[in-house]
Protein backbone atom coordinates (compact mmCIF):
# COMPACT_ATOMS: atom_id res chain seq x y z
CA UNK A 1 0.00 0.00 0.00
CA UNK A 2 1.34 3.47 -0.80
CA UNK A 3 2.06 5.68 2.18
CA UNK A 4 -0.78 7.95 3.37
CA UNK A 5 -0.60 11.66 2.63
CA UNK A 6 0.50 13.48 5.79
CA UNK A 7 -2.60 14.86 7.52
CA UNK A 8 -3.56 18.48 7.35
CA UNK A 9 -4.95 20.37 10.33
CA UNK A 10 -8.70 20.14 10.46
CA UNK A 11 -10.24 23.27 8.95
CA UNK A 12 -13.92 22.38 9.48
CA UNK A 13 -14.23 24.28 12.76
CA UNK A 14 -12.59 27.34 11.23
CA UNK A 15 -15.01 27.28 8.30
CA UNK A 16 -18.02 26.98 10.59
CA UNK A 17 -16.72 29.89 12.67
CA UNK A 18 -16.17 32.14 9.63
CA UNK A 19 -19.55 31.18 8.17
CA UNK A 20 -21.35 31.97 11.43
CA UNK A 21 -19.58 35.28 11.70
CA UNK A 22 -20.53 36.37 8.18
CA UNK A 23 -24.11 35.28 8.76
CA UNK A 24 -24.23 37.23 12.03
CA UNK A 25 -22.97 40.33 10.22
CA UNK A 26 -25.73 40.04 7.63
CA UNK A 27 -28.46 39.52 10.26
CA UNK A 28 -27.14 42.52 12.16
CA UNK A 29 -27.29 44.62 8.97
CA UNK A 30 -30.79 43.40 8.14
CA UNK A 31 -32.28 44.46 11.46
CA UNK A 32 -30.17 47.60 11.68
CA UNK A 33 -31.56 48.92 8.39
CA UNK A 34 -35.10 47.70 9.15
CA UNK A 35 -35.44 46.17 5.73
CA UNK A 36 -39.01 44.97 5.42
CA UNK A 37 -40.41 43.05 2.51
CA UNK A 38 -44.00 43.91 3.43
CA UNK A 39 -43.13 47.58 3.47
CA UNK A 40 -41.59 47.28 0.04
CA UNK A 41 -44.60 45.39 -1.33
CA UNK A 42 -47.14 47.76 0.17
CA UNK A 43 -45.37 50.76 -1.40
CA UNK A 44 -46.36 49.58 -4.87
CA UNK A 45 -48.85 52.36 -5.48
CA UNK A 46 -46.46 55.02 -4.21
CA UNK A 47 -43.73 53.82 -6.53
CA UNK A 48 -46.18 53.82 -9.43
CA UNK A 49 -47.22 57.35 -8.56
CA UNK A 50 -43.60 58.47 -8.41
CA UNK A 51 -42.81 56.93 -11.80
CA UNK A 52 -45.94 58.55 -13.17
CA UNK A 53 -44.68 61.95 -12.08
CA UNK A 54 -41.28 61.32 -13.68
CA UNK A 55 -42.63 60.18 -17.04
CA UNK A 56 -42.35 61.23 -19.70
CA UNK A 57 -39.03 63.04 -19.28
CA UNK A 58 -39.32 66.73 -20.04
CA UNK A 59 -37.68 67.27 -23.41
CA UNK A 60 -38.86 70.80 -24.15
CA UNK A 61 -36.27 73.20 -25.45
CA UNK A 62 -38.05 76.56 -25.77
CA UNK A 63 -38.36 78.81 -22.73
CA UNK A 64 -41.59 80.62 -21.82
CA UNK A 65 -40.26 83.94 -23.10
CA UNK A 66 -39.21 82.46 -26.44
CA UNK A 67 -42.62 80.84 -26.88
CA UNK A 68 -44.35 84.14 -26.14
CA UNK A 69 -42.14 86.03 -28.59
CA UNK A 70 -42.82 83.45 -31.27
CA UNK A 71 -46.51 83.75 -30.61
CA UNK A 72 -46.89 80.12 -29.59
CA UNK A 73 -48.89 78.80 -26.69
CA UNK A 74 -46.47 79.15 -23.74
CA UNK A 75 -45.78 76.09 -21.62
CA UNK A 76 -47.04 76.20 -18.04
CA UNK A 77 -44.92 78.46 -15.82
CA UNK A 78 -42.23 76.89 -13.68
CA UNK A 79 -39.28 77.94 -11.53
CA UNK A 80 -36.40 76.77 -13.72
CA UNK A 81 -35.59 76.80 -17.46
CA UNK A 82 -36.18 73.58 -19.47
CA UNK A 83 -33.81 70.78 -18.42
CA UNK A 84 -32.24 70.21 -21.84
CA UNK A 85 -31.17 73.85 -21.92
CA UNK A 86 -29.56 73.49 -18.53
CA UNK A 87 -28.01 70.15 -19.40
CA UNK A 88 -26.41 71.62 -22.52
CA UNK A 89 -24.37 74.05 -20.46
CA UNK A 90 -23.89 71.93 -17.37
CA UNK A 91 -22.72 68.64 -18.92
CA UNK A 92 -19.50 70.45 -19.80
CA UNK A 93 -18.94 71.56 -16.22
CA UNK A 94 -19.39 68.05 -14.84
CA UNK A 95 -16.96 66.67 -17.40
CA UNK A 96 -14.46 69.49 -16.82
CA UNK A 97 -14.47 68.92 -13.06
CA UNK A 98 -13.76 65.22 -13.60
CA UNK A 99 -11.03 65.83 -16.19
CA UNK A 100 -9.21 68.50 -14.24
CA UNK A 101 -9.51 66.69 -10.92
CA UNK A 102 -8.22 63.44 -12.43
CA UNK A 103 -5.33 65.17 -14.20
CA UNK A 104 -4.20 67.01 -11.07
CA UNK A 105 -4.59 63.85 -9.05
CA UNK A 106 -2.62 61.80 -11.55
CA UNK A 107 0.37 64.14 -11.66
CA UNK A 108 0.64 64.31 -7.88
CA UNK A 109 -0.03 60.59 -7.58
CA UNK A 110 2.78 59.83 -10.01
CA UNK A 111 5.32 61.71 -7.90
CA UNK A 112 4.03 60.22 -4.65
CA UNK A 113 3.64 56.78 -6.21
CA UNK A 114 7.29 56.70 -7.26
CA UNK A 115 8.45 57.97 -3.89
CA UNK A 116 6.10 55.56 -2.16
CA UNK A 117 7.35 52.43 -3.95
CA UNK A 118 9.27 50.15 -1.63
CA UNK A 119 11.84 49.22 -4.24
CA UNK A 120 12.61 52.80 -5.27
CA UNK A 121 13.11 54.69 -2.03
CA UNK A 122 14.39 53.95 1.48
CA UNK A 123 11.95 52.98 4.19
CA UNK A 124 11.90 56.41 5.81
CA UNK A 125 10.67 57.90 2.53
CA UNK A 126 8.15 55.37 1.25
CA UNK A 127 6.66 54.47 4.61
CA UNK A 128 5.34 57.94 5.56
CA UNK A 129 4.17 58.46 1.99
CA UNK A 130 2.20 55.23 2.05
CA UNK A 131 0.51 56.34 5.28
CA UNK A 132 -0.27 59.76 3.80
CA UNK A 133 -1.79 58.15 0.71
CA UNK A 134 -3.96 55.90 2.89
CA UNK A 135 -5.18 58.96 4.80
CA UNK A 136 -5.97 60.83 1.59
CA UNK A 137 -8.09 58.04 0.19
CA UNK A 138 -9.84 57.33 3.48
CA UNK A 139 -12.03 60.42 3.09
CA UNK A 140 -14.92 59.93 0.64
CA UNK A 141 -15.05 62.44 -2.20
CA UNK A 142 -18.43 63.79 -1.17
CA UNK A 143 -17.20 64.60 2.33
CA UNK A 144 -14.10 66.30 0.95
CA UNK A 145 -16.38 68.32 -1.32
CA UNK A 146 -18.62 69.25 1.61
CA UNK A 147 -15.59 70.60 3.45
CA UNK A 148 -14.27 72.48 0.42
CA UNK A 149 -17.67 73.98 -0.34
CA UNK A 150 -17.75 75.25 3.22
CA UNK A 151 -14.25 76.67 2.89
CA UNK A 152 -14.28 77.97 -0.70
CA UNK A 153 -17.95 78.53 -1.47
CA UNK A 154 -20.14 77.10 -4.22
CA UNK A 155 -18.90 76.48 -7.76
CA UNK A 156 -16.74 73.93 -9.58
CA UNK A 157 -13.48 74.53 -7.66
CA UNK A 158 -14.34 72.54 -4.52
CA UNK A 159 -15.32 69.62 -6.77
CA UNK A 160 -12.02 69.70 -8.64
CA UNK A 161 -10.06 69.74 -5.39
CA UNK A 162 -12.11 67.00 -3.76
CA UNK A 163 -11.71 64.70 -6.76
CA UNK A 164 -8.02 65.51 -7.11
CA UNK A 165 -7.26 64.73 -3.48
CA UNK A 166 -9.14 61.47 -3.41
CA UNK A 167 -7.54 60.46 -6.73
CA UNK A 168 -4.06 61.14 -5.34
CA UNK A 169 -4.76 58.66 -2.58
CA UNK A 170 -6.19 55.98 -4.84
CA UNK A 171 -3.88 56.37 -7.83
CA UNK A 172 -0.77 56.96 -5.71
CA UNK A 173 -1.26 53.62 -4.02
CA UNK A 174 -1.91 51.80 -7.29
CA UNK A 175 1.07 53.46 -9.02
CA UNK A 176 3.36 52.53 -6.12
CA UNK A 177 2.21 48.92 -6.32
CA UNK A 178 2.75 48.94 -10.06
CA UNK A 179 6.32 50.18 -9.59
CA UNK A 180 6.93 47.47 -7.02
CA UNK A 181 6.09 44.75 -9.53
CA UNK A 182 8.50 46.15 -12.14
CA UNK A 183 11.41 43.88 -13.06
CA UNK A 184 14.35 44.63 -10.75
CA UNK A 185 16.83 43.28 -13.27
CA UNK A 186 16.29 46.19 -15.65
CA UNK A 187 16.85 48.56 -12.75
CA UNK A 188 20.16 46.88 -12.03
CA UNK A 189 21.15 46.93 -15.69
CA UNK A 190 20.62 50.71 -15.74
CA UNK A 191 22.60 51.04 -12.54
CA UNK A 192 25.34 49.00 -14.08
CA UNK A 193 25.59 51.54 -16.91
CA UNK A 194 26.19 54.26 -14.32
CA UNK A 195 22.73 55.84 -14.18
CA UNK A 196 21.61 58.01 -11.29
CA UNK A 197 18.29 57.53 -9.48
CA UNK A 198 16.29 59.73 -11.83
CA UNK A 199 17.68 58.00 -14.90
CA UNK A 200 16.87 54.63 -13.43
CA UNK A 201 13.30 55.70 -12.73
CA UNK A 202 13.00 57.17 -16.20
CA UNK A 203 14.47 54.24 -18.12
CA UNK A 204 13.94 51.18 -15.93
CA UNK A 205 10.70 51.85 -14.08
CA UNK A 206 8.74 54.24 -16.28
CA UNK A 207 8.66 52.20 -19.52
CA UNK A 208 7.48 49.20 -17.54
CA UNK A 209 4.67 50.97 -15.69
CA UNK A 210 3.54 53.59 -18.22
CA UNK A 211 0.74 51.58 -19.88
CA UNK A 212 -0.70 50.64 -16.51
CA UNK A 213 -0.39 54.22 -15.25
CA UNK A 214 -2.49 55.51 -18.13
CA UNK A 215 -4.92 52.66 -17.91
CA UNK A 216 -5.49 53.16 -14.19
CA UNK A 217 -5.88 56.90 -14.71
CA UNK A 218 -8.55 56.38 -17.35
CA UNK A 219 -10.34 53.99 -15.05
CA UNK A 220 -10.19 56.60 -12.32
CA UNK A 221 -11.52 59.25 -14.73
CA UNK A 222 -14.50 57.04 -15.28
CA UNK A 223 -15.24 56.84 -11.57
CA UNK A 224 -14.50 60.52 -11.05
CA UNK A 225 -17.08 61.45 -13.64
CA UNK A 226 -19.76 59.68 -11.62
CA UNK A 227 -18.46 61.39 -8.47
CA UNK A 228 -18.52 64.72 -10.24
CA UNK A 229 -22.19 64.24 -11.12
CA UNK A 230 -23.02 63.36 -7.52
CA UNK A 231 -21.15 66.29 -6.00
CA UNK A 232 -23.95 68.64 -7.00
CA UNK A 233 -25.82 67.39 -3.95
CA UNK A 234 -23.42 69.31 -1.73
CA UNK A 235 -23.32 72.43 -3.88
CA UNK A 236 -20.66 71.78 -6.49
CA UNK A 237 -21.65 73.04 -9.93
CA UNK A 238 -22.71 70.49 -12.54
CA UNK A 239 -25.42 67.99 -13.36
CA UNK A 240 -25.98 66.90 -9.77
CA UNK A 241 -26.71 70.41 -8.60
CA UNK A 242 -29.49 70.70 -11.16
CA UNK A 243 -30.94 67.31 -10.38
CA UNK A 244 -31.19 68.58 -6.83
CA UNK A 245 -32.68 71.91 -7.95
CA UNK A 246 -35.43 70.25 -9.99
CA UNK A 247 -36.14 67.75 -7.25
CA UNK A 248 -36.61 70.52 -4.71
CA UNK A 249 -39.08 72.13 -7.10
CA UNK A 250 -40.93 68.77 -7.43
CA UNK A 251 -40.24 68.91 -11.17
CA UNK A 252 -39.71 65.17 -11.54
CA UNK A 253 -40.00 65.12 -15.32
CA UNK A 254 -36.97 67.38 -15.52
CA UNK A 255 -35.17 65.21 -12.96
CA UNK A 256 -35.75 62.28 -15.30
CA UNK A 257 -34.23 64.19 -18.20
CA UNK A 258 -31.16 65.12 -16.18
CA UNK A 259 -30.71 61.52 -15.01
CA UNK A 260 -30.85 60.34 -18.61
CA UNK A 261 -28.29 62.95 -19.67
CA UNK A 262 -26.01 61.87 -16.81
CA UNK A 263 -26.32 58.24 -17.84
CA UNK A 264 -25.49 59.09 -21.45
CA UNK A 265 -22.44 61.10 -20.45
CA UNK A 266 -21.14 58.36 -18.18
CA UNK A 267 -21.77 55.70 -20.82
CA UNK A 268 -19.95 57.64 -23.52
CA UNK A 269 -16.90 58.27 -21.33
CA UNK A 270 -16.99 54.71 -20.01
CA UNK A 271 -16.96 53.21 -23.50
CA UNK A 272 -14.27 55.59 -24.72
CA UNK A 273 -12.07 54.69 -21.78
CA UNK A 274 -12.65 50.98 -22.32
CA UNK A 275 -11.63 51.42 -25.94
CA UNK A 276 -8.48 53.39 -25.13
CA UNK A 277 -7.45 51.05 -22.36
CA UNK A 278 -7.73 48.10 -24.69
CA UNK A 279 -5.46 49.85 -27.16
CA UNK A 280 -2.93 50.57 -24.41
CA UNK A 281 -2.21 46.92 -23.78
Amino acid sequence: MPPAVPGRTNRVLLRIAVGTFVLALLVWSWFGTEVSVTHLLSSGPRIADFLDRMLPPDLTWTTIQEAKLAGEVPPPPRPFPPPLRIAATVVGVTLQIALLGTALGMVAALVLGLLGAENLTPHWVHHPIKIALALLRSIPVIILALLFVAALGLGPLPGVLAIAIHSIGMLGKLFAEECETADAGVWEAMDSAGSNWFQKVRYATWPQVAPQVFSLTLFRLDMNLRESAVLGLVGVAGLGLWIENYRRAFDYQSVATMVIVTMLLVLVVDQTSVYIRRRLK
Binding site: D183, G185, V186, E188, A189, M190, S192, A193, G194, S195, N196, F198, Q199, R202, Y203, A204, P207, Q208, A210, P211
Partner: protein, 265 residues
Protein backbone atom coordinates in the same frame (compact mmCIF):
# COMPACT_ATOMS: atom_id res chain seq x y z
CA UNK B 1 43.07 45.04 -13.54
CA UNK B 2 41.11 42.98 -11.02
CA UNK B 3 42.66 41.84 -7.80
CA UNK B 4 41.04 39.98 -4.93
CA UNK B 5 42.89 39.28 -1.70
CA UNK B 6 41.58 37.10 1.09
CA UNK B 7 38.03 37.87 0.08
CA UNK B 8 35.24 36.27 2.04
CA UNK B 9 31.56 36.77 1.21
CA UNK B 10 28.96 35.54 3.60
CA UNK B 11 25.18 35.76 3.37
CA UNK B 12 23.69 35.60 6.84
CA UNK B 13 25.13 32.87 9.01
CA UNK B 14 25.50 30.35 6.24
CA UNK B 15 28.98 29.13 5.32
CA UNK B 16 30.91 31.53 3.12
CA UNK B 17 29.46 31.82 -0.40
CA UNK B 18 32.85 32.90 -1.62
CA UNK B 19 36.24 32.45 -0.10
CA UNK B 20 39.20 33.42 -2.26
CA UNK B 21 42.75 33.82 -1.03
CA UNK B 22 44.13 35.48 -4.08
CA UNK B 23 42.90 36.13 -7.57
CA UNK B 24 44.51 38.29 -10.19
CA UNK B 25 42.98 39.04 -13.57
CA UNK B 26 45.11 41.06 -15.93
CA UNK B 27 43.96 43.57 -18.49
CA UNK B 28 42.69 41.96 -21.67
CA UNK B 29 42.39 38.49 -20.20
CA UNK B 30 39.51 36.26 -21.16
CA UNK B 31 38.36 34.30 -18.15
CA UNK B 32 35.57 31.78 -17.76
CA UNK B 33 34.27 30.84 -14.35
CA UNK B 34 32.80 27.39 -14.17
CA UNK B 35 31.50 25.20 -11.41
CA UNK B 36 28.36 23.50 -10.13
CA UNK B 37 25.23 25.47 -9.23
CA UNK B 38 25.66 27.44 -6.05
CA UNK B 39 29.44 27.40 -6.29
CA UNK B 40 29.62 31.19 -6.10
CA UNK B 41 30.05 32.10 -9.77
CA UNK B 42 27.53 34.92 -9.69
CA UNK B 43 28.76 36.07 -6.30
CA UNK B 44 32.28 36.39 -7.67
CA UNK B 45 31.08 38.46 -10.63
CA UNK B 46 28.95 40.68 -8.43
CA UNK B 47 31.85 41.17 -6.06
CA UNK B 48 33.98 42.38 -8.95
CA UNK B 49 31.16 44.71 -10.00
CA UNK B 50 30.92 46.01 -6.45
CA UNK B 51 27.32 44.88 -5.91
CA UNK B 52 28.36 42.40 -3.26
CA UNK B 53 30.42 43.75 -0.41
CA UNK B 54 32.74 41.14 1.01
CA UNK B 55 32.61 40.55 4.74
CA UNK B 56 36.39 40.74 4.70
CA UNK B 57 39.32 41.03 2.34
CA UNK B 58 40.27 43.44 -0.38
CA UNK B 59 38.78 43.96 -3.83
CA UNK B 60 40.73 46.18 -6.15
CA UNK B 61 39.41 46.96 -9.63
CA UNK B 62 41.19 49.34 -12.00
CA UNK B 63 43.38 50.52 -9.16
CA UNK B 64 40.48 51.41 -6.90
CA UNK B 65 40.08 49.54 -3.65
CA UNK B 66 36.33 49.02 -3.22
CA UNK B 67 36.64 48.54 0.50
CA UNK B 68 38.17 51.95 1.19
CA UNK B 69 37.51 54.09 -1.90
CA UNK B 70 35.27 57.11 -1.90
CA UNK B 71 31.82 56.82 -3.42
CA UNK B 72 32.81 58.91 -6.42
CA UNK B 73 35.73 56.68 -7.31
CA UNK B 74 33.59 53.58 -6.92
CA UNK B 75 30.98 55.08 -9.25
CA UNK B 76 33.65 55.98 -11.80
CA UNK B 77 34.87 52.39 -11.86
CA UNK B 78 31.32 50.99 -11.77
CA UNK B 79 30.56 52.85 -14.99
CA UNK B 80 33.47 51.15 -16.78
CA UNK B 81 32.30 47.67 -15.88
CA UNK B 82 29.62 46.37 -18.23
CA UNK B 83 27.34 43.54 -17.21
CA UNK B 84 25.65 41.03 -19.49
CA UNK B 85 22.92 39.06 -17.78
CA UNK B 86 21.40 35.65 -18.23
CA UNK B 87 17.95 37.25 -18.56
CA UNK B 88 19.18 40.14 -20.79
CA UNK B 89 17.28 42.72 -18.70
CA UNK B 90 16.30 44.83 -21.66
CA UNK B 91 13.53 47.39 -21.49
CA UNK B 92 10.89 45.42 -23.31
CA UNK B 93 8.83 48.24 -24.70
CA UNK B 94 11.75 50.26 -26.06
CA UNK B 95 13.40 49.81 -29.43
CA UNK B 96 16.83 48.32 -29.98
CA UNK B 97 18.33 51.79 -30.40
CA UNK B 98 16.71 53.14 -27.26
CA UNK B 99 17.92 50.13 -25.30
CA UNK B 100 21.45 50.57 -26.52
CA UNK B 101 21.35 54.30 -25.77
CA UNK B 102 20.62 53.32 -22.16
CA UNK B 103 24.24 52.18 -22.04
CA UNK B 104 25.18 55.86 -22.43
CA UNK B 105 23.26 57.00 -19.36
CA UNK B 106 26.32 57.13 -17.16
CA UNK B 107 28.28 59.16 -19.71
CA UNK B 108 25.79 61.52 -21.33
CA UNK B 109 24.26 64.66 -19.83
CA UNK B 110 22.10 63.24 -17.07
CA UNK B 111 19.34 65.84 -17.00
CA UNK B 112 18.90 65.96 -20.74
CA UNK B 113 18.75 62.19 -20.88
CA UNK B 114 15.63 62.33 -18.70
CA UNK B 115 13.84 64.00 -21.60
CA UNK B 116 15.07 61.33 -23.98
CA UNK B 117 17.74 63.59 -25.42
CA UNK B 118 21.05 62.01 -26.38
CA UNK B 119 24.04 63.73 -28.00
CA UNK B 120 25.22 63.01 -31.52
CA UNK B 121 28.18 61.19 -30.06
CA UNK B 122 25.88 58.98 -27.98
CA UNK B 123 23.96 58.12 -31.10
CA UNK B 124 27.10 57.41 -33.10
CA UNK B 125 28.51 55.12 -30.42
CA UNK B 126 25.15 53.35 -30.09
CA UNK B 127 24.82 52.92 -33.84
CA UNK B 128 28.30 51.48 -34.24
CA UNK B 129 27.60 49.10 -31.35
CA UNK B 130 24.39 47.97 -33.03
CA UNK B 131 26.21 47.41 -36.30
CA UNK B 132 28.89 45.52 -34.47
CA UNK B 133 26.41 43.03 -33.03
CA UNK B 134 24.70 42.72 -36.42
CA UNK B 135 21.33 44.26 -35.65
CA UNK B 136 21.54 47.02 -38.23
CA UNK B 137 18.19 46.08 -39.76
CA UNK B 138 16.34 45.75 -36.45
CA UNK B 139 17.49 49.06 -35.01
CA UNK B 140 13.98 50.49 -34.66
CA UNK B 141 12.25 47.29 -33.68
CA UNK B 142 10.88 46.81 -30.22
CA UNK B 143 13.25 44.63 -28.23
CA UNK B 144 10.53 42.24 -27.07
CA UNK B 145 9.88 41.28 -30.66
CA UNK B 146 13.36 39.83 -31.07
CA UNK B 147 14.48 36.27 -30.46
CA UNK B 148 16.45 35.34 -27.35
CA UNK B 149 19.75 35.35 -29.20
CA UNK B 150 19.02 38.73 -30.74
CA UNK B 151 17.99 40.14 -27.38
CA UNK B 152 21.29 39.07 -25.91
CA UNK B 153 22.98 40.85 -28.81
CA UNK B 154 21.14 44.01 -27.87
CA UNK B 155 22.37 43.57 -24.32
CA UNK B 156 25.92 43.21 -25.59
CA UNK B 157 25.52 46.35 -27.70
CA UNK B 158 24.23 48.20 -24.65
CA UNK B 159 27.34 47.19 -22.75
CA UNK B 160 29.50 48.31 -25.68
CA UNK B 161 27.79 51.71 -25.68
CA UNK B 162 29.04 52.02 -22.15
CA UNK B 163 32.64 51.72 -23.48
CA UNK B 164 33.63 49.30 -20.77
CA UNK B 165 37.11 48.40 -19.63
CA UNK B 166 35.75 45.20 -18.12
CA UNK B 167 32.89 43.07 -19.41
CA UNK B 168 31.27 40.74 -16.93
CA UNK B 169 28.85 38.16 -18.29
CA UNK B 170 26.73 36.15 -15.89
CA UNK B 171 25.64 32.95 -17.65
CA UNK B 172 25.18 34.90 -20.89
CA UNK B 173 23.91 31.95 -22.90
CA UNK B 174 21.82 30.04 -20.39
CA UNK B 175 18.59 31.63 -21.65
CA UNK B 176 19.57 31.49 -25.27
CA UNK B 177 18.60 28.75 -27.66
CA UNK B 178 21.56 26.29 -27.59
CA UNK B 179 21.93 26.67 -31.35
CA UNK B 180 22.61 30.38 -30.87
CA UNK B 181 24.74 30.06 -27.75
CA UNK B 182 27.98 29.74 -29.68
CA UNK B 183 27.09 32.73 -31.84
CA UNK B 184 26.54 34.89 -28.80
CA UNK B 185 29.78 33.76 -27.18
CA UNK B 186 31.59 34.28 -30.47
CA UNK B 187 30.23 37.81 -30.51
CA UNK B 188 31.14 38.56 -26.90
CA UNK B 189 34.71 37.37 -27.33
CA UNK B 190 35.00 39.22 -30.63
CA UNK B 191 33.97 42.57 -29.23
CA UNK B 192 36.08 41.96 -26.16
CA UNK B 193 39.13 41.52 -28.35
CA UNK B 194 38.28 44.47 -30.58
CA UNK B 195 37.71 46.81 -27.64
CA UNK B 196 40.61 45.42 -25.64
CA UNK B 197 38.38 44.86 -22.66
CA UNK B 198 38.88 42.34 -19.91
CA UNK B 199 36.27 39.60 -20.03
CA UNK B 200 35.06 37.56 -17.09
CA UNK B 201 32.11 35.30 -17.74
CA UNK B 202 30.45 32.54 -15.84
CA UNK B 203 29.36 29.59 -17.91
CA UNK B 204 27.40 26.49 -17.22
CA UNK B 205 28.93 24.39 -19.96
CA UNK B 206 32.62 23.57 -19.45
CA UNK B 207 33.08 22.75 -23.13
CA UNK B 208 32.02 26.26 -24.16
CA UNK B 209 34.23 27.70 -21.43
CA UNK B 210 37.27 25.88 -22.75
CA UNK B 211 36.55 26.96 -26.30
CA UNK B 212 35.90 30.62 -25.71
CA UNK B 213 38.13 31.50 -22.77
CA UNK B 214 41.90 31.54 -22.32
CA UNK B 215 41.77 30.94 -18.63
CA UNK B 216 39.43 28.77 -16.60
CA UNK B 217 38.59 29.37 -12.98
CA UNK B 218 36.74 26.50 -11.39
CA UNK B 219 34.75 27.27 -8.28
CA UNK B 220 33.46 24.69 -5.86
CA UNK B 221 31.67 25.70 -2.66
CA UNK B 222 33.04 29.21 -2.98
CA UNK B 223 36.67 28.16 -3.36
CA UNK B 224 38.93 28.21 -6.37
CA UNK B 225 39.78 24.62 -7.24
CA UNK B 226 40.92 25.16 -10.82
CA UNK B 227 42.81 28.15 -12.13
CA UNK B 228 44.62 27.34 -15.31
CA UNK B 229 44.94 27.88 -19.03
CA UNK B 230 41.94 26.57 -20.87
CA UNK B 231 44.17 24.21 -22.85
CA UNK B 232 45.47 22.59 -19.70
CA UNK B 233 42.14 21.79 -18.16
CA UNK B 234 41.48 18.08 -18.39
CA UNK B 235 38.51 15.83 -18.07
CA UNK B 236 39.77 14.69 -14.68
CA UNK B 237 39.79 18.27 -13.41
CA UNK B 238 36.21 18.75 -14.47
CA UNK B 239 35.06 15.47 -12.98
CA UNK B 240 36.54 16.54 -9.69
CA UNK B 241 34.98 20.02 -10.01
CA UNK B 242 31.48 18.75 -10.71
CA UNK B 243 31.67 15.81 -8.32
CA UNK B 244 28.18 15.07 -7.06
CA UNK B 245 26.49 17.35 -9.58
CA UNK B 246 24.51 15.08 -11.87
CA UNK B 247 23.15 17.85 -14.06
CA UNK B 248 26.03 17.85 -16.51
CA UNK B 249 26.73 15.40 -19.29
CA UNK B 250 30.41 14.69 -19.28
CA UNK B 251 30.84 13.42 -22.72
CA UNK B 252 33.39 15.70 -24.28
CA UNK B 253 33.08 18.27 -21.53
CA UNK B 254 36.27 20.02 -22.52
CA UNK B 255 35.27 20.18 -26.15
CA UNK B 256 38.17 17.93 -27.10
CA UNK B 257 37.63 14.38 -28.28
CA UNK B 258 37.88 11.92 -25.46
CA UNK B 259 40.24 9.01 -25.65
CA UNK B 260 37.57 6.56 -24.66
CA UNK B 261 34.81 7.97 -26.81
CA UNK B 262 34.80 5.05 -29.19
CA UNK B 263 34.19 2.71 -26.31
CA UNK B 264 31.27 4.64 -24.81
CA UNK B 265 29.58 5.16 -28.14
Amino acid sequence: MIRLEYVEVQYGRKPAALSIDELDIKSGERVAIIGPSGAGKSTLLRTIKGYVRPTQGKVEVMGVNFMSARRRDRRRVNRRIGLVYQQFHLVRRLTVLQNVLCGRLGITNRWRSLLGWFSDEDRRVAWSAICEVGLRDQVHQRSDQLSGGEQQRVAVARVLAQQPAIILADEPVSSVDPAWAEDVLELITQVQRRHQATLVMSLHQPNLACRFADRIIGLRKGRVVIDDDAAKVTEAHLKELYRGDASLPFNGATGRPRADQSRTA
